[in-house]
Symmetry: C2
Subunit: 230 residues, 2 copies
């Protein structure tokens, strides 16, 4: 990744907010595929998401050449490519830590499995919860983390503990070998460089909404055509 490779003149630096849009493209393409469409142009795909056609082409170009001039993109092929790029062409065994209201809520949500994120282990360190069986899974104590990460091949974890425990739990997860954290707590987590964190912060998003509504008279902000991308 440091020096240019031989046949790979410029491996292209990892882009930035492009990945989030790739997910949107993937979903939109899946919708078009279900409708029986076979090809799509960058401008059609862009318009369906409120994005510029050049942006669609440029985003995809970071990862390769997937289109055909004059024709556009073959939907089925592009779906396959995007799944591979995003890493969702495989199952991701995932742990859920913290079984309060939010944790239980997420556990009941079926949307994860559709995207191949499988909640396979639950953790809590409340002795009243450890041993309970919820949605067919037994709650384990956080002390069992190291061996469970190994035995289940866990690489991702969702953190739904109270804010004040979040950093400690994150440290334990990282120490046990977890490589990616979905952080549902309102806390800035500090982790080593090789661990990824995505923050899902409902209060930030609600406050953003309050701000927008509060500061919109009749027509002003960017809300119009393009929904905020996460």
């Amino acid at each position: 990744m440091r020096e240019p490779q031989h046949d790979n003149p410029s491996p292209k630096p990892a882009p930035k907010a492009v990945v989030g849009r790739l997910s949107l493209y993937l979903r939109q393409l899946e919708t078009f595929a279900r409708q029986g469409r076979e090809t799509i142009s960058s401008s059609q795909l862009g318009k369906s998401l409120g994005l510029n056609d050049a942006q669609v082409r440029k985003d995809l170009a970071y990862f390769g050449q997937f289109g055909q001039p004059g024709l556009g993109y073959r939907i089925a092929d592009l779906i396959t490519e995007l799944r591979t790029i995003l890493g969702v062409d495989r199952d991701w065994p995932t742990a859920l830590v913290g079984l309060g209201n939010l944790g239980r809520a997420l556990l009941g949500y079926k949307g994860f499995r559709v995207r191949r994120f499988h909640l396979v282990t639950l953790f809590d360190n409340d002795p009243r919860k450890v041993g309970q069986c919820i949605e067919g899974l037994t709650v384990k104590h956080l002390d069992d983390l190291p061996q469970t990460v190994a035995s289940e091949g866990l690489r991702l974890a969702m953190i739904c503990v109270p804010a004040e425990s979040a950093q400690r739990v994150a440290d334990q997860l990282v120490a046990a070998g977890i490589r990616g954290l979905l952080n549902f707590t309102p806390t800035a987590l500090f982790v080593p460089q090789d661990v990824s964190v995505v923050a899902v912060d409902l209060s930030v998003q609600l406050e953003h909404l309050a701000y927008s509504v509060h500061n919109t008279q009749s027509a002003s902000r960017e809300a119009g055509d393009i929904p905020a991308v996460s």
Copy 2:
């Protein structure tokens, strides 16, 4: 907003990703306040969130002058200012539409109330759900939307219906007078300019995590110190 006002030389254009950071500042300040701290500098606040000190000052400067050179910001005062700016200095009666797994999950989540977003009405149009009482609230049919919006003073709604109904429900909500939508479905919603939409897309965020973990060897991406902001 077009021509400069008299005493208001440049009302400053509404900024962009600044609002999300304002929420982060607010929360961090609340934490510092609980610890008994009275003042804080832009560099201290920035560091606690992995942000640049100049960015903190510039973000705040969009909305006014809140600091004192040589001293920094008085925490209690800045909290008050930020709450007003964000519009979270009041209650926001909010509707929840769609009582599947995710909807029920959100309903049980106590974090909303803390930020003064009060779920006061539930809607569904499944006849088996209408009339049910969940968490002390009775599920209404979507047909009751217009009069309920008026009687409860609803301005925000969370959309937790299946993706294929999302646009139709959004249209109904907008027609009934809702001004802000928190969209939990994987759908790009098209709404009038004066309505705000914030998308909370768990699959996009999970896929982002999968991508990062998938493409991180030992030290590469930006995960290090700064958690992704939303």
